[in-house]
Symmetry: C2
Subunit: 156 residues, 2 copies
DNA sequence: GCTCTCGATGAGATAATATAACACGACGCC
DNA sequence: GGCGTCGTGTTATATTATCTCATCGAGAGC
């Protein structure tokens, strides 16, 4: 993810990221099984949003046996619900969450050139979106804010 | 879309909507063929975001013959590029654009209860998102702002 | 130790969404 | 007529997501 420290809270990386994910899962009352660890490690090993099938392939490689897509989907759904992974809706793909401890509505910047996806947080903006929804009588539960475009390496 | 007049610019509806779409297409140098008209009318006949396959079914019914998905996809892609339809990324579905004349980054409010999807516009917010992307060295081309949640009819 | 239950995973099928490859006819242009 | 472009048809295929049912193991209660 080329995870630049874009704000002051803690961003985990490498093995610390795995540990943080495990802690967040356990804190949320979920088990941290070998399979879940394998899925998380595989997910985190991508430097771009990865599809469930990409992850399934990598998990299969890691474990040396065939792991089916639905197993991966089950675990990814759980990860997303526990804030340990996020789904990039406009790409049907997933990212490891570098700060599972901290809850916000992330803004993803998705490069259509190279696929690199970074994320920024801006509570003023995301709260603005939530408020705008409320003002329309809508109960906001999961804002999706993604920007398709070109990263600094890919712009003309 | 239960299209409430949420701001002061013109929102088309019914046949006027079809006319506005045709005008926007022609103004953009595209043809308004019978097939495109059929796809647009079918699209506009849904009161919720419709998948390409939903639309293909309805077009097939309208024309009394089988119309394949890829024909519909081609035309929907064109519609989106000409701002005559929009894609709801978090649902893999499409909506007719009630104001093809007017360009902004719409905010979709997508109800997870009944599926109803309304849209609001807030240039302050959407420009904020674009600016936030720029500040990160990212060239924003197509912001996606969607809020999953519950509409006023479906909230507890 | 035995059995019951529950959560997690395995396995296979199938559904839903999206794209690719190539053919053909209409139309404008020369 | 010959040619290029555009729109569509047709078929096949790729990709993403879900369903159903079987199995397995850990822990609770006895
Ligand atoms: Zn890039
Ligand atoms: Zn953050
Ligand atoms: Zn609703
Ligand atoms: Zn508007």
């Amino acid at each position: 993810m080329a995870s630049v420290p874009h704000h002051d809270h803690v961003n985990h990386a490498g093995r610390a990221l795995v540990g943080a994910a495990r802690d967040a899962m356990v804190a949320g009352g979920e088990q941290w099984t070998d399979m879940r660890a394998a899925v998380f490690e595989s997910l985190a090993s991508f430097d771009q949003p990865a599809s469930a099938y990409d992850i399934a392939d990598r998990v299969s490689q890691l474990l040396g046996r065939r792991v089916a897509a639905n197993t991966v989907y089950r675990i990814l759904d759980l990860f997303v619900s526990k804030n340990v992974a996020m789904r990039v809706e406009s790409r049907n793909a997933y990212l490891a969450n570098a700060h599972p401890d901290c809850l916000h509505d992330c803004i993803f910047l998705v490069c259509d050139g190279c696929g690199a996806t970074t994320h920024v947080d801006d509570d003023v903006l995301s709260n603005g979106v939530r408020e705008r929804a409320s003002a329309a009588g809508f109960k906001a539960e999961r804002p999706v804010i993604e920007v398709r475009g070109r990263c600094s390496d890919c712009r003309d």
